[in-house]
């Protein structure tokens, strides 16, 4: 393979969806990891997959990345079938698995050179894609990848996934264990990649990141519960939501749950959030009861839901 002259980024039809998944099923023995998942991701979209551990997120990523086979269903990337045309698909995608999977005993620079060579390109050719991130790594370019801190490993993994200018980028929990400032930088970079028409499919346990996606899918037990924009998901929250606070927050949680009108109740930052069973729920009656139980500085208010509340609501039903 001629490494320097022969490489071209894959051409794509911008009118067609970047990724199509249709009725995908995956089981491991008796465990059903995916039970008929279908969705399409538009070109240049940032598409988030949100759900608990064991919901099937990683299986889905591995199927789309041609690493495992589904038992049923179809999946295409840029119109190429992940089974039949797996070689074409592999050229077009970048994949960053949840577990660090670079060569720990090679240096930062060696890892990146290796991944460029595998895809028949060079670091220089696509430096514009990774420059923002790689500049932070350059002072450590001779350090072994295994000796990098968690945040640095993530950055290197992203560089390696991007170095061949993929058309679709799969990121399986890229920011887990990363601090809020670095996470913000990471997302700013995803937004810049999006401007270069790179499609991003990303999973995350952080609900503030879910908000930054164009559309999100909420997945539970191998099924998508909903697929929509964060805005529409929040708007479809169909029941009044309340918040409560007192000077004894742990006891308040138990006391709220014992109150018959209170339905789903959970902690949320400095408040507890809850939905109610009755339409004529009266916060004053609740406040009086709480006072009788020894709570002080009680505050009960009706609030607008966030994407996290939608998740809690869907996860319960």
């Amino acid at each position: 393979m001629d490494r320097n002259n022969n490489y071209q980024s894959p051409t794509v039809d911008y009118r067609l969806p970047a990724v199509v998944v249709e009725n995908v099923h995956k089981s491991y023995g008796s465990v059903q990891a995916l039970r008929g998942v279908s969705f399409e991701v538009e070109r240049g979209e940032i598409f988030g997959i949100i759900g608990p551990d064991g919901a099937g997120k990683t299986s889905l990523f591995r199927i789309m990345a041609t690493l495992i086979l589904a038992q049923e269903g179809i999946c295409t990337v840029d119109e190429f079938d992940v089974v039949k045309d797996y070689k074409q698909v592999r050229k077009r995608i970048g994949y960053m698995p949840g577990r660090f999977s670079l060569y720990q005993d090679m240096s930062v620079e060696e890892n990146l050179t290796f991944f460029s060579a595998v895809f028949g390109t060079t670091i220089r050719e696509n430096y514009h894609l990774i420059g923002d991130i790689y500049r932070q790594l350059e002072p450590f370019k001779n350090r072994r990848a295994g000796n990098l801190s968690g945040g640095m490993k993530q950055k290197l993994a992203l560089c390696c996934a991007l170095i061949h200018k993929p058309s679709v980028l799969f990121l399986d929990e890229p920011t887990t264990g990363v601090d809020p400032v670095s996470r913000k930088e990471f997302w700013e970079m995803l937004k810049r990649l999006q401007k270069q028409d790179i499609t991003v499919i990303v999973s995350t346990p952080y609900m503030d990141e879910a908000n930054l996606c164009d559309r999100i899918a909420l997945i539970k037990s191998g099924r998508f519960m909903t697929i929509d924009t964060p805005y529409n998901i929040i708007n479809s929250f169909d029941t009044p939501l309340w918040s409560a606070k007192s000077d004894r927050m742990f006891r308040l949680l138990g006391d709220l749950r014992q109150y018959t009108a209170v339905d789903n109740c959970y902690v949320s930052s400095e408040f507890h959030h809850f939905t109610v069973r009755e339409n004529d729920f009266d916060p004053k009656t609740l406040a009086v009861q709480l006072m009788e139980k020894g709570h002080e500085n009680i505050r009960i208010e009706q609030i607008e839901p966030t994407i996290e509340d939608c998740y809690m609501h869907l996860a319960k039903n």
């Binding site: 945040g151 887990t176 601090d179 400032v181 346990p205 902690v267 930052s269 400095e270 996860a315």
Partner: protein
């Protein structure tokens, strides 16, 4: 020192060669308190925590944990604390009950006491059916709940939690935090690091480390007032942006 203070540090410092990982930190943690220990990756949290757990000797300064000197009595400290981290807590190739048995044994609990408490724990976690499951095959959230329960199984005075909920989904994180609240209610002091800023709000007090120093320490409410911010996320970003050193 009063009975109520379970962690105390004075000018606690750790250097690696010319690099000052922890730079003169001073703070106290009270009994039954949930103390959030925040900072960016590389700010020095893990190094500080290792000194407090008796795993690493300070270069200078003092520290007392559960009434013991971190320089002179590290073994006493290890017996009085519990510890769990996101990265390692349980043995994956041991069964659920074997992990409980192993840790309880290490902390010197009596056999009959272990047997009795194991039943209670499995029931409380709804894990009775998983007794003989290898830990490797448990979902992450379950693993973390079990790891936390194991870390306080011997009823330590303090438990150190290093990013216990990393990667855990919102619903399971909340169940985890309810377990933390309950332990604190029983008088166990909680010392916890996290990258989730909503979890910072669940703490009684929070410290934020920047470049090895503690740059802020107060209740979440007061920190928000002090930094004129409406969330802990904003407070954190304002402070962390000042950081000069990179990971």
């Amino acid at each position: 020192m009063s009975e109520d203070i379970v962690i105390y540090t004075k000018n606690l410092t750790k250097k690696f060669g010319s690099f000052t990982a922890v730079d003169n930190i001073n703070f106290e943690v009270h009994r039954g308190e949930i103390f959030g220990f925040l900072g960016a990756n590389g700010a020095g949290k893990t190094t500080a925590m290792r000194m407090l757990c008796g795993l690493s000797k300070p270069t200078s300064g003092e520290g007392y944990v559960a009434g013991f000197d971190i320089r002179k009595q590290p073994e006493k400290i290890k017996q009085s604390i519990g510890y769990m981290s996101q990265k390692f807590s349980l043995y994956e190739d041991l069964k659920v009950w074997e992990n409980i048995r192993l840790y309880a044994g290490i902390y010197g609990m009596k056999d009959h006491h272990i047997a009795e408490k194991t039943e209670d724990l499995l029931e409380k976690l709804h894990f009775t059916k998983e007794r003989n499951t290898l830990v490797a095959s448990l979902p992450l959230g379950w693993k973390q709940k079990l790891a936390f329960s194991v870390s306080i199984f011997h009823e330590p005075k303090i438990v150190f939690l290093d990013e216990p909920t990393g990667g855990v989904d919102p619903a399971t994180r909340r169940q985890f935090w309810e377990m933390i609240y309950e332990a604190a209610d029983r008088g166990i002091t909680i010392f916890v690091t996290t990258h989730y800023m909503d979890e910072a709000e669940y703490c009684n007090r929070v410290s934020i480390m920047v470049d090895g120093r503690i740059d802020a320490l107060d209740t979440p409410h007061n920190l928000k007032e002090q930094f004129n911010a409406h969330s802990m996320d904003q407070v954190f970003r304002r402070l962390a942006r000042k950081a000069e050193r990179k990971e």
